[in-house]
Every structure is written in C-alpha cells, then in structure tokens.
C-alpha cells in the first residue's frame, strides 16, 4: 500500500509539470508503477451470430510484471493463467497449456494486455502503433496492429483507464464482432 502510494506521489510529481501534453511515455511510466492487484471484471461479447451479447463475469489478479490470472465465475467457471510465456486454461477439469514463445500471433495478442498492464512500451510497439488521447486522469490508448497476421484478426484495441489503473479493454475484430472488458479494482484490505 505504501509502495503504491509512493508510486502515485512520484507519478504526480512527474506528471504535474508535463500535464499540458500527456504522452505515451508518461502513461507507460504510470502503468509500470502499478505493482498489481485484484479486480472484478465484466466481459461482454457482441457477436453477430447471437441476438444478445454473451456476458462473462469474474475476477482478475495481476502481479507485475508478467502474471495475470483471470477467473471467470459466470456463466461457467474457467481459469486463465498467464505466467511469463505460459498460458494455461482450465475448464471442466481439462487443462490446456500453451507456450506462447511458440505462437507469435497469440503472443502479440497477449502482449496487448500484458504490455499495457505493465507499461512495457517496447513490447507494445513491437506489434502495434500507439495513439493516446485524454489526460492522466482519464486516458484512452488505442492500439492499431502493425503486423499483417494480427491485423487480419483484430482491427483495433482500445484501452482506457485512469492514472495507473486500466479500466476497460475493447477488442474490435475484423468481422465486426467486438468484446468489451470492464475492470473494477477491488481495494486490497
């Protein structure tokens, strides 16, 4: 908690003089200061095939810089764990592990989340062009895939947040379907 507070203070100190022009570098620094935490999420998928969006809810736990656990509780329990380069999905007693180092496209996709959460600009810019708007309190970061293979799947990824906290991630797919992940931090007690 103290660390986080210090981080925020430090961030403010850096951010204040430059508030006139909030840039990607500053955002990344802010995000990198976030050492992790727990959040509730609601994920809505708008799929043209379905008349209504599919909604999933659950909890996410992020531990900087490279561990992310996403536990879906409804409609069905499912755990997704990203630990370094190993992505494992557990569902109905079935467990599937993927080594992302072997799957460059999946890695690029995962990096969009991981890079944002950890403020890793290099990782993000490897596969995406970054556009930032807003200010530290309310920013929107848009990721446009630069790699052809990713671009054929995802049109645009929009991440928005406040200070060092990511609040929503939206994926717009090339077929028009989109998913919106809303994140609500749970304050650690």
């Amino acid at each position: 908690m103290i660390k986080r507070l210090l981080g925020t203070l430090l961030l403010l100190a850096i951010a204040l003089p430059a508030s006139a022009a909030f840039d990607v570098g500053q955002l990344m620094q802010a995000l990198a200061s976030h050492k992790g935490g727990k959040a509730r999420f609601v994920e809505k998928k708008f799929i043209s095939l379905l008349d209504k969006p599919v909604v999933a809810t659950g909890e996410m736990t992020y531990t900087a810089p490279d561990r992310l656990e996403k536990r879906t509780l409804t409609p069905k329990v499912e755990t997704l764990l990203l630990d370094k380069d190993i992505l494992s999905i557990e569902r109905d007693k079935q467990k599937l592990s993927i080594n992302l180092a072997n799957q460059p496209e999946a890695l690029a996709f995962v990096d969009s989340i991981r890079g944002t959460l950890s403020g890793n600009r290099t990782a993000l810019e490897k596969n995406y062009a970054l556009h930032l708007s807003g200010n530290l309190d309310k920013w929107v970061l848009t990721l446009l895939p630069s790699d052809q293979k990713i671009a054929s799947l995802v049109l645009r990824i929009t991440v928005s947040g406040s200070r060092n906290q990511v609040r929503s991630i939206e994926y717009l797919q090339t077929d028009g379907d989109r998913s919106l992940l809303s994140i609500e931090p749970v304050e650690a007690k």
């Binding site: 998928k45 095939l49 008349d51 599919v54 879906t72 499912e78 997704l80 180092a101 797919q173």
Partner: protein
C-alpha cells in the same frame, strides 16, 4: 572304418558344411538378447523392439549457426526426407498436416465424436450442448470456436480435440521444433524400415546425414551447422558394426597368437597346419549346426569362435606331443580315454546352455558343443591317417624338468591358495548384494556416451518412450477396434480418476463400424432436427435459423458412408492408426499407449489399478521397463539353474568314470578354487558380474576339468611329455578365451575375463593339489 573312407567322409562333410555356411543368414541385431520362448507380455516387448513405432524413431538435432539458419535447414531437410520412401513420417513442428487433420476431424465429426448419442440430439440435449458452446464463446477460446459455431453448434470438434494429447509439445523457434533452450532445431522421423531391419536403418541414417549435408550447404554453408542423431536404429547399426569389427579382429588375434605358439612348439609348418585342421573343422561344424538349428547365426556367436579355436586346438596338441614316442596306438590306448572324458565334460558344460530361453546363450552352447565335439572326432579319426606314422615331432622332454620344478613350487603354495580362496569367498559373501549387475543393460553393446546422447535428444524433443502399453489381440479388424473401444471406456475412467494422464487409441480416428453405425443412427433426420432446434433455442441468444449449415451437415452425415482406413490418407492420423492397429499373421493387434498422469505421481503409472480396470476387457497391460527387468532376472535365474545342472552333469560324468570319491574330489577342488579366485578377482577389479560371468564359471569347470583329469590319470602323476602338452594346450585355451577379454561386446568380454584366467588357474591349481605320491 578305413582311413581312406574316413577322409572322404570328412572332405564331403567339410564341403557340405561350407555350402551351408555360404547360405547361412548372419545377424548382429538384438534378437540375440530377446527371449526364445516369450510370455505374452514379453512377446509385446519383442514386437515393440523389432517393429514397434518407437523402434523406428530417429531423433535429429541441428546445432550451430543461428536460430533462423537452423530453422531453414530443418525445413529443407524435412522437405527432402519427406519425399523419400524410406521415411513414413518426418516431423519438425511445421504447421503442415495439421490442417488436413483438422479437416478430417471436422468433416467426420458425427461419426468420430464420443459425445454423439441419441440423447445429445433431443431437445434437452441440443439445448445443453449448444448452451455450452455459447458459453465457450465467452471464454478466451471463444475466438477459435466462433467461426465453426453455425456448423458445429454442439461442439463435436471440441469433444474430440479435448481427448487428444494436450501433453508435452516440443519447444518451438522460428516455426519449427527446438530444444528447450532454443539452441538446437529438432526433428523426429519414423523410418519405413522395421527396427529389426538393420540394413534399412543404416540406409535411412545415411540418407538423413547426406540430406542434412546438402541442406546445410544450400542454406547456410558458412554457419557450421552440425547434426546430431540418435535412436534405436542407430544403436542397432553401431552395435552391428562393433560386432562385425570385433569378430574379425578377435579371430585374427587369437588365430595368430595360437599359430605362433604352435610354430614355436612344433617348429614344423606341416604339423602346425595339421594341428589347425580339427580347429577349422570344429569352427565350421559349429556354424553349420547353429545355422541348421536356429536359422540365423548371431555375430556374437561367431565372435565366440576365437575361444573355440583355443579350446579345440588342444586335442591335436595332445595327440602330436603325447603320441610322439609311443605312436598312434599307444596314444589311443593310454591318453584318448582321458581326452575323451575331457571332451565329454566340455560337452556337458556347453550342452547345459542348449536349454536356455536366451537365444544367444543357446547358440553359444550349440556352437561350442558342436565345435569341440567335431574337433575331437577329427583329431581322433582324421588326423592320424593324414599325419601318417612319422610325425617327426621334435623332442620336448627338455622342457619337462622345468615344469616339474614349477609344480613342486606350486605345491608349497597350497595353503596360501586355500587361504586366498577362503578370503575371496568371504569377500563375495559379504558383498553379495553388490556382486551382480541388476539389469539387462549390462549386456548391451550401446556405449555410455551413446546412451547419454540419446537421453539428451529424447528429452529435448519430448519423444515418446512408450513404456506403458495395453495390448489387445483379436481375430479381425472390427473386433479389434470394438475391443479397443471397450478398453478405452475403462481407461477414460482412469483418466478421470487421475490414475493415468491419457492414452492413445486407433479407435479415436477409426471407430469400429458398430460404433460408427450407432453414432450415425443417433442423428435425427432432416425434419426432426429443425423442429427440435427451434424448441431447444427458444430462449437462446442463438437463433435456430442461423444453423442451416448444422442441419445440412447432419443430413449429409446421415447419408454418408462410414470412415474406413483409406479415408485417413493424407493426414497424420493415418500414421497414428497404422502404428496402433496392426495386422499380424494370426489376427489383429491394437496398441494403446498409456501416458502417466505426471505431477506428483511423476513418470510412473501405478500398475495394479490399471490391471484391475482392464481385467476382463481382454487388454493386456505391459510395463516395458518391468518386462525388461523381469526378462533379465528370468535369464539370470535360468542361467543359474543351467549352470548348476551343467555342473551336476560334469560331476556325474566324472563320478561314473573315476569311480572314486577321493579322485573326484581332487579333480573338482582345484576347479572350484579357480572359480572362487576368478570371481573374487573380478569383483575386486570392480567388475559387476552378469549372467555371462556366471556362464563363464561353468566353462571354467567344463574346460578346466580337461587339465585336472590328466593329473588324476590312474592316480599317477603325468610324465614330462604329458606335462608339456598340457602346458601348451592350456596356453592356447587361455589365449583363445583371453582374446575375448579384449572385446568391447559385454557378452564376449565377460566370458573372456572369466574363462581366460580361470583356465590357467585350473591347470596351476590342479598341478598344485594333484595326488599325493610326491610327498
């Protein structure tokens, strides 16, 4: 029988023998070690080693250069080898046939999916299955599911993929398999040649090396890329090369050494050539006997010939040296009975091996037995007429006083020898748990370095070791597949219970006709399905009218025929089915390889729960490692029994002939002392004994008794000439067996280090402990 007729007969026999040998099949493969009378479990082991998929795997690593260069060469190498008929499959992790596999699984999903049942296509069943698929859309895997959902809303493709091996996949770099550290590109190939086809394996390995050289030169000539290769095929090729090389080397050394000794003794080229005659006849007869009885002559058996040479030359030495003064008739009367008894004890010793279920041992026994017997007979009946009356043997009596003085010296050491033997026996008794090598690897010709290299490649590529297999046999393919499905149900329960991690089955990609029929009959017709869908999807976000593709596919599946084996062509699944579903001369076999659950249970599978679950299903569960260990223990147990039986036969033979307990004891005591001293010495030298050492002990008694008997001839000390003949004969025997000690083939080496010193000790101790008249 006149001398002329004997000679003619011998010549004809030699010619016939040469013809047989010319047409004999020689082999240096592992069948030497594989059981001649296998149990059902051992038969599985034998089949796997000879023709199983694992025995046909070659693992290849490309090292050096950078990751992109290695990947390029890996792709090029795969492209070259894939076209060759010598390879059934060449995999390097490229996404090649995965598309074809997926298409097959998708196209035939209603006949393949284990989830297809009448219930699944009722209104409730459809609601549940489609509901699951929609839920899956919400999950991270949703992106994969979405494109297929309109045609496969019940998720039959996922029901199949969920059962496939989600276990260890090799690491990957630049799109091809790599070692865990990424420093080597890895390929896995399956040869068309069987594991037992050493020529075919050698050809395949040669092709890999040549193609790699071409690929490396084309892609990255300056990168200095290197190739590492291993696999059962390489072991077979190397081991054959070793045996071939050693057989000629050992025979040459032993022949040369013996020729030198004989020339030194005889100083006559004629006598020397005549003396080798029984040896050549014996060696030829040995190979002929083995070829006629076993069909195939093992290289190791021929390698044993160098010992046979040393042993068989004794008879002509006895004849030439001993008959020098008294002539042939005197020799036949005075010495032949003793020589004959020696031959018989040798025959008893080698004969015990004939009953071994270890084919290599049975061959060695037959080879040595026929060889020794023939050499003795040729000495007795052919050599005298050929040599004529005038042997022109040089007088060797001048050597006798020196030998007699040496014997007198030896006699003074008797108590020291006894004390030493007691010490050796005590040492062996104390260390009895460490004396024996615990498993079959003791006999393997694979060097430690090669084994380590193999292990490294294996772990780099996560190659299957196929330790656990359930085997089903059935009269025809359909019943084999049905049995596989029944066993599969039991195994599914074990997977669910976490006893095993998973298993492979050919019925997954080629279900039995009965199962395919049942699944097809579960599908509703073109009128029922849309009606049920409407009811099932009344409250669903998915509208029934978007599932036209699904309705059409189900209708098509109802109209289509069953999957047969040719339907799999072009997919890698065909290979999986072919390697797990095998036609045998007497029916069909199904192999179900089981994978351990991993985690806390490690790499072992608890045998008993699997046996219990499979009981009654007709599936035989085999743990290869366990079978290997039992096999060796069986061999060892059997060899112990045979050695004791052989020893008993020798004792019986001596008892009947000598008719005196005291003389029997004085023949046996030095032999037993020799055995104890040799074994104690080997143990002290750090050798772990295995079953060939045990056989060696029997041979010390069988061969050594020849010398002991001369010292007990009618209870009087041998005269000077006899002593000289024994010393020379002993020397040649020690050379013959001793040469084997130079071998790196463990089977031959063990016999050499045991019998070589043992034969010399047997002579020395026989001299030291013989009779009592000198005192």
């Amino acid at each position: 029988m006149s001398a002329r007729r004997a000679l003619t007969l011998w010549l004809l026999a030699m010619l016939a023998g040469a013809a047989v040998v010319w047409n004999s099949h020689f082999s240096a493969d592992m069948s030497f070690f594989l059981p001649g009378r296998p149990s059902a479990e051992q038969q599985v082991l034998v089949d796997q080693l000879k023709e199983g998929v694992v025995s046909r795997l070659l693992m290849v690593a490309i090292e050096g250069g950078d990751s992109a260069q290695r990947a390029a060469v890996s792709r090029d190498l795969r492209g070259r080898l894939e076209k060759m008929p010598e390879f059934v499959a060449v995999q390097n992790g490229e996404a090649g046939s995965q598309g074809a596999d997926r298409d097959f699984l998708f196209r035939h999903r209603y006949l393949l999916s284990p989830a297809v049942s009448p219930e699944r296509f009722t209104v409730d069943g459809l609601r549940a299955a489609i509901g699951d698929s929609i839920a899956l859309l919400a999950s991270p895997a949703g992106m994969l599911v979405k494109p297929l959902l309109p045609r496969d809303p019940t998720g039959e493709l996922w029901a199949q993929i969920g059962r496939l091996n989600a276990g260890a996949q090799p690491n990957s770099r630049d799109g091809v398999w790599a070692s865990p550290d990424g420093e080597r590109a890895m390929l896995l190939m399956q040869t068309a040649a069987l594991g037992s086809d050493t020529d075919g394996q050698e050809r395949a390995i040669g092709l890999v090396r040549a193609s790699f050289a071409d690929a490396a030169a084309a892609a990255a000539p300056a990168a200095g890329l290197g190739l590492r290769l291993s696999g059962p095929g390489l072991f077979a090729v190397k081991s054959r090369a070793t045996i071939k090389h050693e057989v000629s080397k050992l025979s040459a050394i032993s022949t040369l050494a013996i020729v030198v000794v004989l020339y030194f003794v005889y100083r006559s080229a004629r006598l020397m050539s005549l003396g080798l005659l029984p040896v050549l006849s014996g060696a030829l007869a040995g190979i002929v006997a083995v070829s006629l009885v076993h069909g195939t002559v093992f290289g190791i058996t021929v390698g044993f010939g160098s010992a046979l040479i040393g042993e068989a030359v004794d008879y002509s030495i006895y004849y030439f040296v001993q008959s020098g003064r008294g002539g042939i008739d005197h020799w036949r009367q005075r010495f032949w009975p003793t020589v004959r008894l020696g031959v018989l004890t040798s025959v008893a010793g080698f004969g015990a091996l004939l009953f071994s279920g270890f084919p290599g041992l049975a061959q060695l026994g037959l080879y040595a037995l026929s060889g020794v017997l023939t050499a003795a007979l040729v000495t007795r009946f052919i050599l005298p007429p050929l040599a004529g009356r005038d042997l022109a043997m040089r007088e060797l009596g001048h050597l006798a006083p020196r030998l007699q003085a040496a014997i007198a010296g030896l006699r003074r050491l008797r108590w020291a020898v006894l004390a030493l033997a007691v010490a050796a026996a005590a040492l062996l008794a104390v260390n009895r748990d460490r004396v024996w090598h615990p498993n079959l690897s003791a006999l393997s010709t694979v060097s430690e370095a090669d084994a380590a290299a193999d292990m490294a490649l294996r772990s780099d590529i996560a190659a299957p070791d196929a330790r656990y297999i359930a085997v089903i046999t059935a009269p025809d393919r359909e019943s084999a597949l049905q049995a596989a499905e029944r066993a599969g149900e039991k195994l599914d329960a074990l997977v669910a219970a976490g006893v095993i991690g998973g298993y492979d089955s050919p019925a997954r990609f080629l279900p039995s006709q009965a199962t395919q029929a049942a699944r097809r009959d579960s599908l509703p017709d073109a009128e029922q399905l849309p009606a049920r869908l409407r009811l099932a999807l009344a409250d669903s976000p998915l509208a029934a009218d978007k599932l036209g593709g699904f309705v059409a596919d189900v209708a098509a599946a109802r109209a289509a025929g069953f999957i047969d084996r040719p339907a799999l062509d072009g997919t890698s699944l065909a290979l999986a089915v072919d390697s797990l579903l095998l036609q045998r001369p007497n029916g069909w076999s199904v192999l179900l390889p089981l994978r351990p659950a991993g985690g806390a249970q490690g790499v072992d599978i608890a045998i008993e729960p699997v046996r219990a679950a499979l009981a009654g299903s007709g599936a035989l569960f085999v743990d290869m490692k366990h079978e290997f260990d039992t096999l060796y223990n069986d061999y060892l147990g059997e060899a112990t029994l045979l050695s004791l039986a052989g020893f008993a036969a020798i004792v019986g033979l001596l008892a009947v002939t000598l008719r005196s307990a005291r003389r029997l004891a004085s023949v046996l005591l030095p032999l037993l002392l020799a055995v104890v001293l040799v074994v104690g010495g080997l143990h002290l030298a750090g050798q772990q004994l295995h079953l060939l050492h045990l056989i060696g002990m029997l041979l010390i008694v069988a061969v050594g008794s020849n010398y002991a008997l001369f010292f007990n001839q009618a209870d009087r000390q041998p005269d000077g000439t006899t002593l000289v003949s024994m010393a020379v004969a002993n020397l040649t025997t020690a050379i013959g067996f001793g040469t084997l000690a130079l071998s790196s083939v463990p089977v031959l080496n063990a016999i050499g280090v045991t019998v070589g010193p043992g034969a010399i000790l047997a002579l020395l101790l026989s001299a030291a402990f013989a009779g009592g008249r000198h005192d």
